[in-house]
C-alpha cells in the first residue's frame, strides 16, 4: 500500500472500507423494505411456490376486519402511558436538578430499570401482579387489601397493568436524558435568578423548560412511535391474550403463526407509514419552530 500514491490509495480505501457496510445496509435494510411492499400485494404463506397477486385486497381486509384494526385501540393505552411517563420523568429530573442528598443514589436507582433485560422485566411483573404476589402483599401490608384485583385476568385492568410495566421499564431513559439536558444549563443563570429573587417554580418555568423544550419534544415523538411498536412486555407476559394484543404482536402472529405473510406485510407497511408520518411531522415542526 505504501508504494501507491495517495490518490490511488484513497480510491482503494474508499471502496474497500465502504463495501461491506453498504452491502449489509442494502441487504438487511432496503431489500426487506422493498420486498415487504411487494409481499403486501400477495396472498402467500411465506414458503410455498404459490404466490397469488391480490393487489390492495390485503390493505382492504386490514381496515375492514375488526380483528385487525381493533388492535390499534390497545395502542391508545400505551400512548396515554407515554404522556404520563414523560411527565413523571420531567418531574424526577427537575427534583434531582436542585440540591439534594444522595442525589447519585437516586439517579442510579431511577435509571437502572431501563438497562434490564426485557424478559426479566416481564417475569418480575408477572410475579408483581400474580395472586398473592408483590402488589397484593404490599396492599395488604398497608391495609388496602380491599383494593386487590385480578391485575392480569380482568380484561378491564390488564392493559393498565401492561402500561404501568412499560412506564417502569422505559422512564429511566427519558429521565436521564432530561437530567443531562438540565445539568448542562449554565449555573450562572440560576445564580442570577437567585439574585432577582426567583423561586423554584419560576426557575422551572422560565429557565429549565425553555432550555430543554427541544429534547422534551424529541422524546415525545420517540415515545409516540415507541407506543405504536409496543411488543415485548405484552408478548412475554400475556402472549397477547386477554385483550393485550398490540399491532406488532398481531403482525408477528399473522406472519409466523397463521402463515399469512402478505397480510402481515401489509400491516407492517401501514405501521411504517404511521411512523414515517410521525417523524416527518416532528422534523417539520422543529424546522418551523427554529425559524421563529
Amino acid at each position: 500500500m505504501k508504494d501507491l500514491n495517495y490518490a490511488s490509495q484513497r480510491r482503494i480505501l474508499i471502496v474497500t472500507f465502504l463495501f461491506v457496510p453498504i452491502v449489509l445496509l442494502c441487504v438487511f435494510s432496503f431489500l426487506p423494505l422493498g420486498n415487504m411492499v411487494y409481499y403486501s400485494t400477495l396472498k402467500w404463506n411465506g414458503y410455498s411456490k404459490n404466490r397469488l397477486f391480490v393487489g390492495f385486497s390485503n390493505y382492504i381486509r386490514l381496515f375492514s376486519d375488526p380483528e385487525y384494526f381493533s388492535v390499534f385501540k390497545v395502542s391508545l393505552y400505551y400512548l396515554a402511558g407515554s404522556v404520563l411517563q414523560l411527565s413523571l420523568a420531567l418531574l424526577f429530573a427537575t427534583l434531582l436538578t436542585f440540591e439534594m442528598r444522595a442525589k447519585n443514589f437516586f439517579k442510579g436507582v431511577l435509571f437502572f430499570p431501563y438497562l434490564l433485560n426485557g424478559v426479566a422485566i416481564a417475569f418480575i411483573f408477572l410475579f408483581f401482579y400474580k395472586g398473592d404476589g408483590t402488589l397484593d402483599s404490599i396492599l395488604k401490608a398497608i391495609g388496602l387489601g380491599d383494593l386487590i384485583q385480578f391485575w392480569l385476568r380482568d380484561v378491564k385492568i390488564v392493559n393498565f397493568s401492561m402500561v404501568f410495566t412499560s412506564i417502569w421499564r422505559y422512564i429511566g431513559f427519558n429521565f436521564i436524558v432530561f437530567l443531562g439536558a438540565m445539568q448542562s444549563i449554565d449555573k450562572e443563570i440560576f445564580e442570577a435568578a437567585d439574585i432577582d429573587g426567583a423561586n423554584k417554580w419560576h426557575k422551572f418555568i422560565y429557565i429549565i423548560m425553555p432550555s430543554i423544550k427541544k429534547i422534551v419534544e424529541l422524546n415525545l415523538i420517540l415515545a409516540v412511535t415507541g407506543a405504536i411498536q409496543a411488543f415485548e412486555i405484552p408478548y412475554v407476559m400475556m402472549h397477547g391474550a386477554n385483550g393485550t394484543k398490540t399491532f406488532v404482536i398481531q403482525t408477528v402472529d399473522t406472519a409466523f403463526v397463521n402463515g399469512k405473510l402478505g397480510l402481515a406485510s401489509a400491516m407492517s407497511v401501514v405501521l411504517l407509514i404511521i411512523i414515517i408520518i410521525a417523524t416527518i411531522f416532528q422534523k417539520q415542526y422543529f424546522k418551523h419552530r427554529e425559524g421563529v
Binding site: 490509495q9 465502504l18 438487511f28 423494505l33 424526577f92 437516586f106 436507582v109 433485560n117 418480575i124 395488604k140
Partner: protein, 280 residues
C-alpha cells in the same frame, strides 16, 4: 411572612424527598421481592408472604437448579459469543465508514450518508417479516450468524457517534503522519482507532446492553435449543417451571447480575453514552 416562607419551603423539601423516595421504592421493590423469593425453599415460598425475608440468604439451591436444569450456561455461552463477534464487527465497520466519510471527499458521499440516515427511520420491528425471508434464503435461519449479521449491519447510530468523534480529531495529525510516509491505512489503524477509544466505549455500552437484552431477533431466527441466548433461556422458564416461582426468581436474578455489575462499575460511561446517543 419570613416564618411562613420557611415553613412552606420546609414542606416543599419534605415533599421533594417523599416523591423521590416513592419513585425509588417503585423502581426497586419489584426487583427486591424477586431477590427475596430466589432464596426461599418451595414450602417456604408457598406458605409465606411475598414480602417476608427468606430463612437463609445462603440457600443457593434455586440458583443451582435454574443454572443447571434451565441450561442457562448455554444462554450465557451463546450471548457472549454473539456479543463479542457482533460488537467487534460493528466497531470495525462503523469506524471504517466514519473515517472514509469524514476524511475524504468523493462523488457518492452524500448519497451514501443519506442512505444510512433513511435506514435509521425504518424501525426494524416493521421489516422483520421480510428480513426473515432473506435470512432464510441465505441459509442463516437457526444459526448464530443470523443474529450476528443483523446486529452488525443495522446499526447506524454507531456510525454517527464515530463520525462526530472523528471530526473532532485534527486533520493535522493525519498530515504529519503523511509527511513521514504513512499510508491512509496506517493512519486509520495507528492514529484514528486509538484516539476514537472513548466513542468505542460509548458504542460498546449502548449496543452491548441492547444485544444482551434483545429478545425479538433470537426468538425469531434461532429457535433451536442449542442456540438459545440468555433472554431465551429465561423465556423458556415459563413452561416447564410453571409455578415454581422460587426457581424462576433465581433465573431472573442470574440474568440481572451482569447488568448490575456493569452498571456499578461503568456508571459514568453509561450515563454519558445514553445522553450522547440520544442527541444525535
Amino acid at each position: 411572612m419570613v416564618i411562613s416562607n420557611r415553613v412552606s419551603s420546609n414542606i416543599l423539601t419534605v415533599l421533594k424527598y417523599a416523591i423521590v423516595i416513592l419513585g425509588a421504592l417503585i423502581a426497586t421493590v419489584p426487583i427486591v421481592v424477586v431477590f427475596l423469593a430466589s432464596f426461599k425453599t418451595s414450602p417456604e415460598f408457598l406458605d409465606g408472604n411475598a414480602l417476608q425475608l427468606p430463612h437463609s440468604f445462603i440457600n443457593f439451591q434455586n440458583y443451582v437448579k435454574a443454572f443447571v436444569d434451565g441450561r442457562m450456561i448455554v444462554g450465557f455461552f451463546n450471548t457472549t459469543l454473539i456479543l463479542t463477534i457482533s460488537l467487534t464487527g460493528a466497531i470495525i465497520l462503523g469506524t471504517m465508514v466514519a473515517y472514509v466519510v469524514n476524511r475524504f471527499d468523493f462523488k457518492l458521499k452524500k448519497v451514501i450518508l443519506g442512505a444510512f440516515l433513511v435506514a435509521t427511520l425504518i424501525p426494524s420491528v416493521t421489516t422483520q417479516v421480510a428480513t426473515f425471508q432473506i435470512i432464510n434464503a441465505l441459509g442463516l435461519f437457526n444459526t448464530r450468524l443470523a443474529a450476528i449479521i443483523l446486529y452488525m449491519g443495522t446499526d447506524i447510530i454507531a456510525i454517527y457517534v464515530f463520525i462526530q468523534f472523528i471530526s473532532g480529531i485534527s486533520v493535522s495529525l493525519d498530515e504529519a503522519a503523511m509527511m513521514e510516509g504513512a499510508s491512509y491505512l496506517t493512519i486509520y489503524t495507528k492514529i484514528i482507532l486509538p484516539l476514537v477509544k472513548p466513542a468505542i466505549v460509548t458504542v460498546m455500552i449502548i449496543k452491548g446492553i441492547a444485544i444482551y437484552n434483545d429478545f425479538y431477533i433470537p426468538f425469531l431466527y434461532m429457535p433451536k435449543k442449542s442456540l438459545q441466548v440468555v433472554s431465551i433461556s429465561l423465556f423458556k422458564f415459563m413452561g416447564p417451571f410453571g409455578s415454581n416461582w422460587e426457581i424462576i426468581s433465581a433465573a431472573i436474578i442470574i440474568t440481572i447480575i451482569p447488568t448490575l455489575v456493569l452498571f456499578l462499575f461503568l456508571q459514568k460511561y453509561i450515563y454519558n453514552g445514553f445522553t450522547a446517543g440520544s442527541v444525535k
